[in-house]
Amino acid sequence: MTQSEAIAQLQPIFDELFMEKVELTPELTAKDVEDWDSLLQISISLAVEQHFGIRFRVGEVEATKSVGDFADLICRRVAGN
């Protein structure tokens, strides 16, 4: 899976959770989106793990700085390394 494929799959998850269109780009960060607080971050992590059937390792999600980073992490976990 590529970063853009992962982002394409993230898009409807974010739309669902934010209840409005949040245009995902690799550069987007939580600071750029008004509703993106720590509570929603927990929901995002849970929903993404469920959707992709993956489990993040300790500290990984916190270390990502942008949607692009996050998508790369998803790609690595989906690829199993």
């Binding site: 799959q9 409807p12 669902e16 959770l17 720590s38 509570l39 929901s43 929903a47 959707h51």
Partner: protein, 636 residues
């Protein structure tokens, strides 16, 4: 074509569409829907989504009036987002048990000083309810698996007593009800089957402490039985090591939902009158079949068939409820003579006429009969629960006597007992807060005396910790941790001056600077490297360039210990002045008065900087209850 998230999310998440519509249309029906969905939700994911929706609704101007409730959370964990979950369950509880909660969150693992310190933010908040989650790490037997049982028991009792003492102090200052979470049991095999033969294993020790807590808890302490809740969910599924290491979460996300729901339930039960009467249908509720058609010999009750046995077990459970003070009434569409026959004549019946306080068997609407039962017993309709296997009867009662709670039984009598138990309507519980008011009056005077004693308890507590510190000059091996703390600490950080590892090493090499670290351990374990100080010496003055500390050792006298060392080092460098600087940030308000509290004199006050000074030559070393094993620059 990529699958849409909506198609792959769990079905309960997909069903939220109606709720979202209600938010967008600003439909007040939203709150009823929200309550239903929340009651049915069991995963953290779903409850968080519902909580987010609720906030969204509020932002869109959908409001509902609820009484407020001030809830403080303290404990050995990060208490966010547990408070969000508790707040959501309080909001969506059935009135009058529903509240708009305001929260105060204690700092991570700082509960002992928050509770003991009478001027802490906990008491400033004036909580009505305190949710208290003591640390599982402190609920461990310190000795050996093979130690004598009475030694292990003594330590377990001691831990329980300390926790209940904290509850007592917290309650005595402002009268908050305490919801105390006990300890979940570990789900791993270690130390193997021997765990059950000793109190020294975490498994047995926590069970023992939990029992001690529950059996000795005073009436203002309400146990949130995390041991039970985690067993119900599964001990392995209740713990999440990743969540602990990432953000010091107490439980797995789904277990947090169980605990939050229970906390809200306990808080609500302080204000809601308990149910007093079970109003029972007869045919296919108390026995199988229809007595009017099948006759006394034709109904299924008793040990001759699995169905008959199930109905008998249900009757036995109902009879056991009467021993808790619950009244039983009958409300059945039947001829009265036929209806009473099994109670009088059937040998397998458990319930008899003497067990029934009101018996309505006629052809009137059940809603009417229920009103009459309430009137005869001189009880409010809201203390009645109606139990029937017929959905149509349940619906009529819901519509015409909405004050009465209803229980619709399934068509499988083996599930009746469980179904009724799951409603939780007839749980015996602590007295209400008002009852306690009367019962506990004579205890007040004693509590006041104890409160006075509690002020000195802080000292005794610190002494009992057996703290030991090692103070060391900056060492190369510590540089990564030093730099990490310098860049992460926000709250207890006087100047919030950040430094990379390279900059730390630079300062180490520069003779103008001195720096030391403090490691702290107590009898519960090692806190590691928890405080850092950097001083800069110039012209007979030592300026405190950096002073920071991990918040989990607040109020442990580490501040005084550090000042002692600072003075010693300043004097050794021939200084006659120590200059303290406070640079306000968005997060370090807690140390604004730090220097003054330690006896420094203010010399400069401006919006972006406070300065203080202290003459080290006039300083008397502060006594601390920390044994100092090592001081810095000792080898030089």
């Amino acid at each position: 074509m990529l699958p849409s998230a909506a198609a792959t999310l769990a079905p309960e998440v997909r069903g939220l569409a109606a709720l979202k519509d209600a938010v967008l249309r600003r439909d007040p029906m939203f709150f009823g829907l929200l309550r239903e969905r929340t009651a049915a939700a069991h995963t953290c994911e779903e409850v968080l989504l519902l909580a987010t929706l609720r906030k969204k609704a509020e932002r869109k101007g959908l409001v509902t009036e609820l009484p407020s409730l001030r809830v403080a959370l303290v404990g050995g964990y990060t208490l966010y987002p547990l408070n969000e979950l508790i707040g959501h369950f309080l909001f969506t509880a059935k009135p009058p048990g529903s509240f708009h909660a305001e929260f105060l969150l204690g700092d991570y693992d700082n509960y002992i000083s928050e509770i003991l310190d009478p001027s802490s933010k906990l008491y400033e908040f004036k909580p009505e309810v305190i949710v208290f989650l003591p640390s599982s790490r402190r609920c461990r037997y310190s000795g050996n698996l093979l130690d004598a049982r009475d030694k292990q028991e003594a330590e377990g009792r001691n831990i329980a007593t300390q926790i209940l003492d904290l509850c007592r102090v917290a309650n005595s200052r402002g009268g908050a009800e305490i919801i105390l979470a006990n300890f979940p049991l570990p789900g791993r095999f270690d130390p193997g089957p021997y765990r059950a033969r000793t109190l020294g294993s975490d498994w047995s020790f926590r069970k023992f402490v939990n029992l001690e807590l529950g059996l000795n808890a005073p009436s203002y302490v309400h146990i949130c039985d995390a041991e039970f809740l985690s067993a119900r969910r599964g001990t392995l599924a209740s713990w999440d090591a990743r969540g602990w290491f990432e953000s010091k979460q107490a439980y797995s996300p789904d277990m947090s939902v169980d605990v939050a729901r229970e906390c809200a339930y306990l808080a609500a039960s302080l204000r809601v009158a308990p149910k007093k009467v079970a109003v029972l249908d007869l045919d296919n509720t108390l026995w199988g079949g229809v007595v009017g058609d099948d006759g006394l010999d034709g109904i299924e009750i008793g040990d001759t068939s699995p169905r008959g046995e199930s109905f008998k077990a249900f009757q036995q459970y109902l009879l056991s409820l009467t021993h808790r003070g619950i009244l039983l009434a009958v409300c059945s569409k039947n001829d009265y003579e036929k209806a009473i026959e099994p109670f009088e004549k059937h040998p397998e019946m458990v319930l008899r006429m003497k067990d029934i306080v009101a018996f309505k068997a006629n052809w009137q609407p059940k809603s009417e009969n229920i009103r009459q039962i309430a009137a005869e017993l001189n009880l409010g309709l809201d203390s009645l629960v109606f139990i029937d296997d017929n959905p149509a009867e349940i619906e009529i009662v819901k519509q015409f006597v909405p004050e009465v709670e209803t229980v619709l039984l399934s068509d499988d009598p083996s599930e009746y007992v469980g179904a009724l138990q799951d409603t939780r309507y007839f749980e015996p519980r602590n007295l209400t807060a008002e009852d306690l008011e009367r019962v506990d009056q004579y205890k007040r005077e004693a509590q006041r005396r104890e409160l006075l004693a509690a002020v000195t308890d802080m000292d005794a507590y610190l002494e009992s910790l057996g703290m030991e510190a090692a103070i060391r000059e900056f060492r190369t091996v510590d540089v990564p941790r030093i730099s990490q703390l310098i860049n992460k600490s926000n709250q207890f950080n006087l100047t919030t001056r950040r430094r990379t590892e390279a900059q730390v090493q630079e300062a180490m090499a520069d003779p103008v600077y001195f720096g030391f670290t403090v490691r702290l351990a107590d009898r519960f374990g090692d806190h590691g490297l928890i405080s850092i100080v950097i001083g800069k010496v110039a012209g007979g003055e030592a300026e405190v360039d950096t002073w920071l500390m991990s918040c989990r050792v607040l109020k442990r006298q580490v501040e005084e210990l550090v000042l002692n060392e600072l003075v010693r080092l300043a004097l050794a460098r021939g200084c006659s002045r120590i200059k303290g600087v406070y640079v306000p940030s968005a997060k370090n308000g807690m140390v604004r008065n730090h220097y003054q509290a330690l006896g420094f004199t203010p010399t400069l006050t401006s919006a972006d900087r406070l300065e203080f000074e202290l003459d080290p030559r006039l300083y008397a070393e502060r006594p601390v209850r920390i044994r100092v094993a090592e001081k810095s620059y000792d080898t030089k």
